[in-house]
Subunit: 326 residues, 2 copies
Amino acid sequence: MTESIRLLGISNAIVDVLSHVDDEFLDQIGAPPGSMTLIDENRAHEIYDMMGPSTEMSGGSVANTVAGFANLGGRAAYIGRVNDDQLGEIFTHDMRSLGVDVRLKPTAAKSPTARCHVLISKDGQRTMQTYLGACTELSVSDVNEETVGAPAVILLEGYVWDIAEGRALAERAIEIAEMNNSKVALSLSDSFCVERHRDAYLYAVKNGVDIVVADEDEINALLQTESFDETMRALKDYDNLFAMTRSEKGSVIVHGNETVVQEATPVDTIVDTTGAGDAYTAGFLYGWTHGRSLEESAKLGTYCATTVIQQVGGRIERGVLDDYPS
Amino acid sequence: MTESIRLLGISNAIVDVLSHVDDEFLDQIGAPPGSMTLIDENRAHEIYDMMGPSTEMSGGSVANTVAGFANLGGRAAYIGRVNDDQLGEIFTHDMRSLGVDVRLKPTAAKSPTARCHVLISKDGQRTMQTYLGACTELSVSDVNEETVGAPAVILLEGYVWDIAEGRALAERAIEIAEMNNSKVALSLSDSFCVERHRDAYLYAVKNGVDIVVADEDEINALLQTESFDETMRALKDYDNLFAMTRSEKGSVIVHGNETVVQEATPVDTIVDTTGAGDAYTAGFLYGWTHGRSLEESAKLGTYCATTVIQQVGGRIERGVLDDYPS
């Protein structure tokens, strides 16, 4: 069973709490529009009390990628920590219902299951206030030969470095990957996260991470470059595979001497950009782990991202490839 | 404070768990498309395990009406039973955040907060499998002079008669209403519910219920009539106010010798008919409790119903009246 898993995600398991807000709300809580802020439990209650009626759905960046990968038909597994509360049950159900092999059961944790308060402005922009809760209790012992197995790719989330044992458990995952010939991918999460953990990420990129997934801001932050041109020159010092998304400018894959430039697909109406990067990663890794070329994989990633920005919600749904030109 | 409440709802407090299904799914669980079935906790787990990823949001028929009434700017209060679990917290938050005076705190119950598994078919039809959970623990003692107060209207949900002390607590609410000169409205919920409790509803309609809110199937089921024409003749024996919705045929209000026929507003695209009746009730009662005529109240109800069928989700949102011709 374990042998045929193509993608294992290790990340923060989060339920999104989505609500529409006006701009004064963001002012009031002091959140820059579009930002992601980590908050503690007291602040989570404060923010929630101020919010209007909400809708809840499973979220989390790499968890969205894993769900999307499963919906593309790929065999996927997942490691993340939820409490055995109702939100933990919801998160686990949503993953399992897609056929994802959830490796950790919900168990009694000190904190409730994580939630991300997603504040949607009138212009569709999303500002996130995240309470990590039970996620912070993910430990090195959760990442072992049994829970990791030998997937084709292990995908780590940059946000994992925000939790106490994050760096240690990432290094343990890399060790296990090396034993089993799994590849390790790192998704850089967001540029503020890169600012917080740049040295640790650079260390990982030079010591076991094979694939780096990032948007333009994130890769520039990692390499401390001022422009994408400068980034492209800086990448000559690395032999990792870099999959970089650039919104309406499309995406660029760099792997050693090989460079693939993939244009974005123009769309009439963007409904919701949430999860565009996560969907791209799902499509790219699905192609790459199923023997497709870098160019074909980039096309598939673009197709998934284009689909997700034309719907509400961050996860690509089953049947997304039904209209894909084969 | 209590004196200025215009609408108090007493109903089953439910969180909706929404998921898209194919027609085979309904076959598999033996649910007629469009039906509402009450299920126990074991069956709820079975159904949930079979369902795909879901989205959660506060629901419940009369709870939707109360939320809509508050969003129209009306002062509203609510009595319903939730457990002190995460779904109970979500339900209570969503009501409170609209300014609804929630009269019962979430408290430890024997069963978890109720959930309704809403199975959405490809054609947009919704089939509901409802686990009442903590709702069934709503008791006569929860309905007292303090929790009810003296609202302009007390709105009872037909589904309340499905719970053990439902009939008794409805009669208690009617007693308190009579003491305080509140009017009592009864929303008939669905035609199967009317089949289950016809005699009890007829008794209530003749003993204290002032207003009956129903769709065509429900009112025909109550009066055991074969057609709406026959219903209109049968209504001559009643002096209650009847507000009856007829989908694309509009709505009809009958009160003694007065009859108001309100046409439906044609719409280009119906997105989701969920909550159309509940929204109509919110608009109608908002008008009626704010001194509008039956005709104006029916127009307002129609406006709310027309709005809600052009959006996803069963609750009308704040600002719905911004474009309403004054």
